[in-house]
Symmetry: C2
């Protein structure tokens, strides 16, 4: 196969909300046999469309702190910085964005100290011009 057709889209949308659903039930919902469904899912996994399956943990571990690092670079693109950020285990997600900012980095650390250290490391990276840290006080909704 090659392109993602309507059936694949349905599969993705179902799995993105109910990842532990049995293949048989999934097959039932999309109107295919179990084996065909499994084949499609396997393909999607191998193609990297489905990266994995995650439990959605609602409540943070005690003492875990989430924060956003809002980064402005001296010059874009951000060669190197992205890779170096990915090297930190506390970095959860990095997005390159348009506008005044260049990067939005979501991090999760065990303490304010750890956050400060991380912040300093990132701030002193080559090419980083400005860095604002916003600690997450409260999580609202979270979908998908």
């Amino acid at each position: 196969m090659q392109d993602i057709d309507a059936i694949d889209r349905t599969i993705l949308s179902i799995l993105s909300r109910e990842a532990r659903i049995p293949m048989k039930s999934l097959a039932g919902r999309i109107g295919l046999s179990r084996s065909a469904t499994t084949e499609r899912v396997t393909r999607l996994e191998k193609a990297g469309i489905i990266r994995g399956y995650r439990a959605d943990i609602g409540q943070l571990e005690e003492g875990q702190i989430q924060a956003f690092l809002l980064v402005t670079l001296q010059r874009t693109p951000s060669i190197g910085v992205l890779d170096r950020l990915a090297g930190f285990s506390s970095v959860r997600k990095v997005s390159s964005v348009s506008g005044q900012l260049d990067l939005v980095v979501e991090v999760e650390v065990g303490s304010i100290n750890a956050l400060n250290e991380l912040r300093n490391e990132v701030a002193t990276m080559d090419n980083v011009e400005d860095l604002t840290t916003s600690i997450v006080l409260r999580r609202g909704i979270e979908r998908s």
Copy 2:
């Protein structure tokens, strides 16, 4: 049960990366019987610690646009705004943060037009003082 002990933590950390793992294998890894493991997982689900299981979709749907709305409020707390934001289906995640900003809102829309409309709606909400929109150009790593 009541508090989340070390075993629960292990369960969460395993499930947050491999949500489709069979309970039997999970049990093997943490050194408990299958039934005890299933019980714990069920408890975690009912307690809302595990909110659900999601397939991690790597590639965005064609034409889908992600963006961050960085919101400053006139006065905090943000009574009302959080709820109203949650009402938009395109809003993926809302975080209350400290610092100059008050809210970081992650959204995903089908078009720039839709983003603009959303932006306008949020900007004209009562209590919203300032709003910066940053479109995601590229997604870097994403963990957990």
